[in-house]
């Protein structure tokens, strides 16, 4: 199917700048998936997530005149979303580098362990367990995993969004995946989780 020319970011932005609110609506629809990924991954409080997504697009609108296409539109929006989430977390005094699953955590705290009860294994599907484990990682790790795997961004783009050196992004990504793999292996029966098609 032929893609509508109006969905081109430059044309869309030109129309928004001219005061076309329908164009802004289309713009939001085009980028809301990206914003949702970042906000939902960084913010645990479900009540504030939607408000934050709105704030991101209001900020985007406010700053649209200053955007000079020196980066991709998606990178610019993701950067705004990331910065707003960081501001929110700092206001709420959330520890940015807090890993929600300390090494010392007892196995009783989990529903699983090496001997995962059968009923539990039946109740929850493997993909949702993976999502739970992602949510227990540090915020920066969660964000990088999301931007790389879900939004298919490059190391350079992630570095720009999170204001980190490219090498650090690469290293965090490696550490996040390794930690995730180890935790999943540690907590759930290997055969069950790893031989299944997620």
């Amino acid at each position: 199917m032929r893609k509508s020319a109006t969905t081109e970011p430059r044309q869309l932005i030109a129309r928004i700048r001219a005061g076309d609110t329908h164009a802004f609506q289309a713009f939001i629809d085009q980028y809301k998936r990206l914003v949702t990924h970042i906000v939902f991954r960084m913010i645990s409080n479900t009540a504030d997530r939607e408000d934050l997504c709105q704030d991101v697009f209001l900020k985007v609108y406010q700053n649209l005149d200053g955007f000079r296409f020196e980066s991709k539109v998606s990178t610019w929006i993701a950067r705004i979303a990331h910065n707003l989430c960081i501001n929110y977390l700092q206001k709420k005094k959330v520890l940015l580098y807090d890993d929600r699953t300390p090494e010392s955590e007892s196995l009783e705290d989990f529903s699983g362990g090496h001997n995962l009860p059968d009923s539990f294994a039946e109740e929850r599907d493997i993909a949702s367990r993976l999502q739970d484990e992602i949510d227990k990682l540090e915020i920066r790790f969660r964000t990088i995993l999301t931007l790389y795997h879900l939004d298919e961004m490059s190391y350079a783009e992630i570095a720009q969004i999170m204001n980190l050196p490219e090498g650090t992004v690469k290293s965090y990504l490696y550490r996040a995946r390794k930690r995730l793999k180890e935790r999943l292996m540690e907590k759930y029966q290997k055969e069950e989780i790893w031989n299944a098609n997620i």
């Binding site: 609110t21 802004f24 609506q25 289309a26 939001i28 629809d29 809301k32 949702t36 990924h37 939902f40 991954r41 939607e50 997504c53 709105q54 697009f57 209001l58 900020k59 609108y61 406010q62 700053n63 005149d65 200053g66 955007f67 000079r68 020196e70 980066s71 990178t75 610019w76 950067r79 705004i80 910065n83 493997i126 993909a127 993976l130 999502q131 992602i134 995993l145 795997h149 879900l150 490696y174 995946r177 390794k178 995730l180 793999k181 999943l184 292996m185 989780i193 790893w194 299944a196 098609n197 997620i198």
Partner: protein, 171 residues
Amino acid sequence: MERKHLTDEEIQAFLDRKRSDQEMERNHHLKNCEICQRNLKYYQNLYVGLEKDPGFKLPGNFAKSVVSKLTDKQAVPFLSPSVEIALIITGIILALGTTFYFIDLKPLSGIIGRIALPKMAVNTSFLQPIKNLLADLNGSLILVPFAALALIAVAIFDRIIHKVKHHKLSL
């Protein structure tokens, strides 16, 4: 010589390079080592899981609600530059008036009166009200321009802060 098992970093790097089967076959060790194959499988499953959309959803009318907030914001009229200037001038006049009212300007006005007015004694009836005004301002006149300058500086800073605030997120 037998190769060591592939590290997690090597397996991840291998999968990040588009995970081509040909490349996999090229790696003799990976092909023959059960442990590394299993580790690779773990990571392959992990990658598939990470690429799955977690299903975060916003309400269907999200875009509309953002746009409505936008129009609400726009409905609040911003001050036009001419109104802003008028407000600044009013502020200056009020500040000057207050200064004149509360500060004793008599000594300075006396000096100014003596310097500026003696040679103009021809038309005394015309200059008399000014003389009287200056006589009434019994204080230090130097504070007046200072107050005016301070107000102008505040207005300029306000404009600068406003501009910076609206452009700081542009890349």
